[in-house]
Every structure is written in C-alpha cells, then in structure tokens.
Symmetry: C2
Subunit: 332 residues, 2 copies
C-alpha cells in the first residue's frame, strides 16, 4: 500500500508529521510518501532512524495554513502539499491521503474535479466523521463539513457512516441515530423532524433520535447530525473535559493532603487520560469523497499521526469507498 | 413579596418542592404560595417546622407530568398546578411563579392569553435562559424553548439575556456573543451569519462569535444560540461531566493505592462537585414572558428549589420584566 502524508499539516509541522510517517512505515510496512518542503522533510528524516523503511519524498512548494480560507486556497495555492498529495491519489499513484492540516482546505482541495478526487457519484455532500474517544467509539457525522444541511444530506451521512463503521470498525448492522434535543416524538428541529421519515424508510438500522447523553453512553454506533451541531458537540465535549481537568488539578493542589491523594491516585488519572485520548482514534475520515482522505487534528503528535495513517490503510483495505459507491448507486 | 411555587413539579414532588418553599420562606421572609394537591402539600408541611413562616396553600386538582405534551396540557389540564399558579401571577395576586416541572408545559401555560401571562409586547419568541454552572456564571439563551429560530429571534434573545444579566446578576455592559463553530469570519450556519449584522447594529456589547471553548472560559456574559443548539450544548456538557466523573471513580477503584489516593483527595473532589453543582445557580428564567417564571430542573432538591425561588425574587426586585418591556418598546 502507498499512503501520502502531508508533512506541512500539523500545528508543529513538519516534525510530528514526518515522525508519525516513519512510525507508520515501520509498523505497517507500507510505502509512505511525504509531501511538502523537501528540505524541511529531509532535515526531519535525518533525525530519525529510517533504515529499512519505504519512505519517499515529494516536493510541494506551498502550504495551506490553518487560517487560510478554504475558498481561497483552492486556486491561490495550486502547489500546496494538499494539492500535490491529493493529486497523487487522484492519479492512482497512492491509495490514501492523510493530513493534520486545515479541514476546510483538505475538503476543498479533495472536492476539486480536475486535480482533486471529487465526489462519489450520487453523494450530495461529503461529510466529516469523527470517532468519539469514549469506550464505545461511536462515529459522529457530520462534524463540520456542512454547517447547513437538508434532510437528504442527513440520510446520506447515515448511509456513509453506517458503511464506514461496518467495514472499517467491523461492527455488524450498526445502530444509527439522529442526535436531537430529546427522544420523544415531536422533539427536534425542523431538519431532524424531516429527516426521521427518510431514516425510517432507509433500510438502515435506525434506532430513533437520541440525546447527547445516550450517545455518550454508547446507545448508537453512528450519531448523525448537521455539521454545525456536530462541531458544537465535539467542541463542547472538549471544553468541558478540559474545564473539569483543570478544576480537579487546581482543587487537588489546594492542600497538602489532597496533593498527596492526587499523587497516589495519579495512575488512575493517567488511565482516564489514555482512555479519553483523541490521539488513539486516529483522524476524521472525509466520507463521500471519491478516494481516501483522513484529517487528523492539528495538535497531532507523531503517535496520533501514525494512528491516523493506520486508519487510512484500514479504509483502503476494507474498501470503504467502494462500499459507499455501491451503496449510492443502489440508492438511485 | 409573594412567590408561587408549584408543589407538583419536581421528579420527587411534592417533598423537595414544599421543603424548598419552606427554606425560602425562612431565608427571604417572603410569602410563599404552594400550589398543588392540598392534602399532599399539607402532609409535607406537617413534617417541617414552619412556625413563623408565611406559607399559603392553593389547591389545584391536576398536575402536568414530565411526559405530557405541551400542546395537550394547555386545554387538557385547565386545573393543573401550573395553570392555577400562573393564574395567580396573572391576576396580580403573586409576583412570580417557580416550577421544577415540564419546561414545555410551563412555557405553554405561561403563554396563554386568557389564563396565562402572554408575551411582552414586541417579543417574537420567549426563550429559556440557563446559567452555566461554571465559575464565571455566563447565561446561555435559548436553551430549548425554540428549536427553530430566525435571526431576529437571536437578536431578541441577546437583548433579553443582556438585560437579565445586567439587572439580576449586576454585570455592567454585559458581553454578548453568538455561539458558533468558529470565530473566524465566514464560520457559522446560515442562521448565525444572518444574525451577525443584526447584533452588530444592535447597540449591545456584541463581542462576536465564540466557540463553546471560549464560552466555558468565560469569554462572554451572554451566549446566544437557537434552542436546539443550546439544548444540545447543555446536554453534551452534562453528559461529558457525568462520563468523566464515572470514569475517574472507576479508575480510582481499580487498585488499593489509587483508592487511598482517592480518599485523601476527596475534599478536592467535593469542592469540584460543589463548584459545578447546577443546584447553586437556581432555575432557568423564561425571558420574554410578561411576568416572572422560573423553571428549575426536574431533579431539584429542596436547596435547588430554594435557590430558584431566590432567583425569582431577584428578578422581581430588579424589575427585569419591566426592563425587557422598555427595551422592546424602544426596539420598535
């Protein structure tokens, strides 16, 4: 397998991106193609032991910044690492593209018809799926690619999410739910209410509407939402986790006895941290794009990059894109 | 001051509702009118020391259940404790109504023109404000009264929330923000994008769009959102807090050393619990209704009820409804 890694994506690029690529090349025995500033990539590679690894470097003279607007990068930076990297997948020279860069930028470049991958026929809007880093590892889709959605988009997100979870995570007959402000009939906004009959008629294992609480308890394998709500859910979850974390730290530091208690309990806190670590779950798959694109979070370290690359190869191996293509054609 | 308390509202009614009323009567020296099943209320009162307290009982033969649909209770249960209680405020026999019952039911009854309070002239949609139980105590509005919103509703929520926070919480020139999926220009869904120019022209202290993270860090005094998103935010926050809580407990119990650490650190955990306790902040004010209505959460204990009653009296004292009335008339 040949996987392209954007060396210029993460907040601290190119170090974690390159180191993660090396970890992946060793663990998975794949060929990794690093795309970005050749000089910088080679400097990073020189710091690592890459003996026996299959790593190639492809120069790209531009990079897309986190602050760049997706609409502007498409034409304004035609030689960005994303353009070059996605182009390799487009031309069949690689199987997947992984970046820890600007999500909107990656989506915009992937969607280009000439140099990008475009949509899978029949897909109205590609969507970003995110694995929630709780024990049950449910998928939340859409997580920000589409701030405004129509009911039929939610139907397609459900189908794509369901296929992803079934193929890539091996969950049989995945439970699909709409995320809403209540489970009772009549709850939900207009979008949710219109999506319900579509889901009911979809043939998917639609279990109804659930609240965030039930989602966090693992009630569904796929939680479906518009990209605005999904993004707000993820960001609220991160904010609360970090808020609680800081407050617990502060209160433990407030007296000698609780400091001692905190020291003794440290292994427990470490286990909690590891369990909730978003690095474990890899990146977010861009579903609906006609090829494999994974967006890892900007703060990714080498381990998180390696996990994201592992996820990309699983998607290739399990033929998720092909499954969505088939699913879409049988929809029509 | 005379405050009506719904004795049939909370999940465990009437015990916490009645006990909370007694606590409030003692602390605030107000007259509390308990509305609900007279026999049940008197049984509860008999268990308490009510000497010297000004507590009245008003019988209401029906009660609104948490599972009742708002649209059905309005006509189907004309003698509910909510109808009777809100009627007392309507007729000027009391200053405020506090319930821990069905939020949609309270809103529906409050909005009735004949027996309820109706809207403040000019208010398009009343909204539910919730004080987030973090250190900075920001208000999130709307928290579920309006699942689908228009940009001008968000403008009115901003005005009402700002006046509430200024008057009832004493915050000068409160900072108002729209809650969005990003702070950058161009972020947000269609609703947010259309609301931005309205907020910019509003004369309020509009500080821009903020993400949930910034909101949790106290970047705004008033966070404005549609009721669907607001409700999902609150429910996600509760779900994550409870998820982390359970996981920390479980991991601490996993070994003798961490159990000991947990015991020593217990005072710190208790302080965290107290800080994040939603009981502290009282109930949610129903803003835009032509009178004072507070909805406490269903799981309220006596202390939470007392806090909600305290909040109601502050709204009366600080003339928040009058301020919104004036604000609305100058809008037009």
């Amino acid at each position: 397998m040949r996987i392209v890694v954007d060396a210029m994506g993460s907040d601290d690029h190119p170090a974690p991106d390159v180191a993660g690529a090396a970890l992946a090349a060793r663990e998975f025995k794949d060929t990794i193609i690093l795309v970005g500033d050749q000089g910088q990539i080679e400097t990073e590679l020189a710091k690592l032991d890459t003996s026996g690894l299959s790593i190639e470097v492809q120069h790209a003279g531009q990079k897309i910044e986190m602050t760049d607007k997706p609409s502007k990068v498409v034409k304004g930076k035609p030689n960005s690492s994303m353009h070059v990297g996605i182009g390799l997948v487009k031309r069949g020279e690689a199987d997947a593209f992984v970046t820890a860069g600007n999500t909107g930028g990656a989506l915009a470049v992937a969607m280009l018809r000439q140099v990008g991958l475009g949509r899978i026929p029949g897909v109205k809007r590609p969507a970003l799926g995110v694995i929630f880093p709780i024990e049950e590892r449910p998928l939340l889709i859409d997580n920000g690619a589409n701030a405004d959605c129509k009911p039929e988009y939610l139907l397609q997100f459900s189908l794509m999410g369901s296929l992803y979870v079934e193929r890539a995570l091996g969950i049989q007959n995945p439970r699909v739910a709409l995320i809403s402000n209540g489970e009772e009939e009549g709850k939900g906004n207009a979008l949710i209410k219109e999506a319900i009959p579509l889901l009911q008629a979809s043939g998917l294992n639609y279990i109804g509407n659930i609240e965030p609480k039930e989602f966090m308890q693992g009630a569904a394998d796929v939680g479906v939402t518009d990209g605005f709500t999904g993004n707000v859910i993820i960001k609220t979850a991160e904010a609360i986790a970090s808020y609680m974390n800081n407050m617990i730290r502060r209160e433990i530091k407030a007296s000698p006895l609780t400091i001692l208690g905190g020291l003794l309990a440290r292994p427990a806190f470490k286990r909690v941290g590891r369990r909730l670590n978003p690095d474990e779950v890899g990146g977010a798959p861009l579903l609906g794009v006609n090829g494999v694109v994974i967006v890892a979070h900007g703060g990714s370290n080498a381990y998180a990059m390696k996990q994201a690359i592992g996820q990309a190869r699983r998607i290739v191996e399990k033929k998720v894109v092909e499954a969505i293509r088939t699913g879409m054609s049988s929809e029509e």
